[in-house]
């Protein structure tokens, strides 16, 4: 994607965008529970959220049958993996949710920690996601995507 866009001539914040490399290192050491950070990856915002105890509990309590999209949409797992809370995260690192923060409806960027499910609320047409980024209500068809990534150390993540 980066290659397709023209070099930016503007001086505003999205000048950074065009140069987005194929993989990005993210240091999550400073993320305490309840904090999120957003990085730009392949032109899209990727959120890393250190979920609170309560958020994890809420995510685990959800029954698969109640999900609109029962598939994990986790690029690090088989394509048909079920959308359990665990399958949305990494074993041993369940608190950290790494996710492309783009609404699966029509591409807006949902607002964090909003809506009926304590996860994300899309301002465009009201799609609501839970604390594991799974679609629960509104017109979006799929859970928000978990991108390809790996932990390179205890506190570092490499996207892509």
């Amino acid at each position: 994607m980066a290659d397709l866009s023209e070099p930016e001539t503007g001086t505003d914040e999205h000048t950074l965008l065009a140069e987005a490399p194929a993989s990005v290192e993210v240091d999550v050491a400073s993320l305490t529970p309840g904090m999120s950070l957003v990085v730009q990856w392949r032109g899209k915002p990727v959120v890393v959220r250190n979920r609170t105890e309560q958020e994890m509990k809420d995510g685990e309590a959800v029954k698969l049958a109640d999900l609109k999209d029962p598939i994990a949409r986790n690029a690090n797992l088989p394509a048909d993996a079920p959308a359990t809370d665990a399958n949305r995260t990494t074993p041993g690192k369940e608190a950290l949710l790494v996710m492309v923060q783009v609404c699966t409806h029509l591409g807006c960027i949902p607002l964090g920690q909003e809506g009926d499910f304590g996860g994300w609320l899309c301002p465009c047409h009201g799609s609501q996601y839970d604390t594991a980024g799974r679609i629960r209500k509104g017109p979006a068809p799929e859970n928000m995507a978990v991108p390809v990534f790996q932990f390179t150390s205890d506190t570092k993540i490499r996207l892509g």
Binding site: H14, K44, G126, P139
Partner: protein, 423 residues
């Protein structure tokens, strides 16, 4: 009516010279001077003329704006600001153009309602109606694309959402979306192609408008009674009667337009569009321009999956269908009577429909949560029921009121009752 042969007689040598080579004066004479129009046309019939004026105005202001505008993501926003501050009368041009789009839509919606009320879509005016619907579609495309050009937050996110509609289409959707965008996201290639299209489409529109008026002049105008013209007492000459009435309608309309242009230039716009586009942040309340709100509400009303169709495809399908269904109106309405004046029940359903669309528009401006979603779903249901149930069924069961035999009789009857009322 076109069958009636031309009464034009060239008087001067120049007129004779032209008439033998390119009979343009004859065309104007036959179409806009002695052209017969029903004698009972009311002010709802002046909106065709108003629309023509608005199209011309959009083209003139647009072409001059294009001389000062730069279609580049790094420069577009600033070039519009430069138009507002530095270009002589640039503020006026832009105010005319952006409010002009709004008033264009006000006029077209009234024009369409006029058609729906007086049954102007019925035989032999089906093609005239279909061409009109094509005009609406072109206008919508042009206005949406134009709104992207100033490259504000609403421009960017509106473009993201609307081009994503196409990604809902199975198999070819993603490909169409990438073709529109010129990449995977809204970016410089998108802005460049949008500018090219925004310049092109109004001229296509002008072409279809010409066909629309041509078709009109073949079948003749409908009128508030819906009764076909039968004799010469039913009609008057276009000039001076229709010319003066149209001119008066246009002037009154332009008064309202000017009020917005000069005193409320941003009233119909959105403040977020004065923030430069930021691909990393969607504004907290994104709404399209007011003239798309009813359709936006229909899009958002489909929050559920229907069999294999997921909510996303369903919403997009419902939204496109809400326009597509207009094209089918001539074949959906089964009533033998054209005008709602003589259709007591249709009249009720028609006004309910108007109220429903206004309600949908209001819902479109509200957040898509809680009761608003349910209300949008009900209003969407009525929107489609009006076309798919009411139009075909009502025509079969409704008893129309007694109709006069001719336009002349209708006019004289009305005059008689009003004279009696005065006595």
């Amino acid at each position: 009516m076109s069958e009636g042969h031309s009464t034009y007689t060239p008087r001067t040598g120049i007129e004779r010279w032209f008439d033998a080579r390119l009979p343009l004066p004859r065309l104007v004479h036959d179409s806009f001077i002695v052209y017969p129009v029903p004698r009972n046309l009311n002010y709802a019939y002046t909106f065709g003329g108003i629309l023509t004026v608005m199209l011309a105005s959009q083209i003139v202001t647009g072409v001059v704006l294009a001389m000062h505008y730069t279609p580049d993501t790094g420069l577009a926003f600033n070039s519009v600001e430069k138009i507002m501050r530095d270009v002589n009368s640039g503020w006026l041009l832009r105010s005319l153009h952006s409010n002009g789009a709004s008033f264009f839509f006000i006029a077209v919606y009234i024009h369409i309602c006029r058609g729906l009320y007086y049954g102007s879509y019925k035989s032999p005016r089906e093609l005239l109606w279909v061409l009109g619907c094509t005009n609406l579609l072109l206008m919508m495309a042009t206005a949406f694309i134009g709104y992207v050009l100033p490259w504000g937050q609403m421009s960017f996110w509106g473009a993201t959402v609307i081009t994503s509609f196409f990604s809902a289409i199975p198999l070819v959707g993603e490909w169409i979306q990438q073709l529109l965008l010129g990449g995977f996201a809204v970016d410089n290639p998108t802005l460049n192609r949008f500018f090219a299209l925004h310049y092109l489409l109004p001229f296509l529109l002008a072409g279809v408008v010409t066909l629309h008026i041509w078709a009109l002049h073949v079948v003749g105008q409908n009128n508030p009674t819906g009764i076909e013209v039968k004799s010469t007492t039913d009609v008057v000459d276009f000039t001076p009667y229709a010319t003066v009435k149209d001119a008066f309608g246009i002037i009154v309309f332009l008064f309202f337009f000017a009020y917005f242009v000069f005193y409320l230039p941003n009233f119909l716009g959105h403040p977020d569009n004065y923030t430069i586009a930021n691909p990393l942040k969607t504004p907290a309340h994104i709404v399209p321009e007011w003239y798309f709100l009813p359709f936006y509400a229909i899009l958002r009303a489909i929050t559920f999956n229907v069999g294999p169709i997921d909510s996303k495809l369903g919403g997009v399908f419902a939204m496109f269908s809400s326009i597509a269904v207009l094209f089918l109106v001539p074949w959906l309405d089964t009533s033998k009577v054209r005008s709602a004046v003589y259709r007591p029940w249709y009249k009720v359903f028609f006004w309910l429909f108007v109220a429903d669309v206004l309600f949908l528009g209001w819902l479109g401006s509200q957040p898509a949560e809680g009761v608003y979603v349910t209300m949008s779903q009900l209003a969407t249901l009525y929107y489609f029921a009006f076309f798919i149930l009411v139009m075909p069924l009502l025509g079969l069961i409704e008893t129309p009121r007694r109709m006069p035999h001719s336009i002349t009789e209708a006019v004289l009857e009305k005059r008689a009752t009003s004279v009696k009322a005065e006595e």
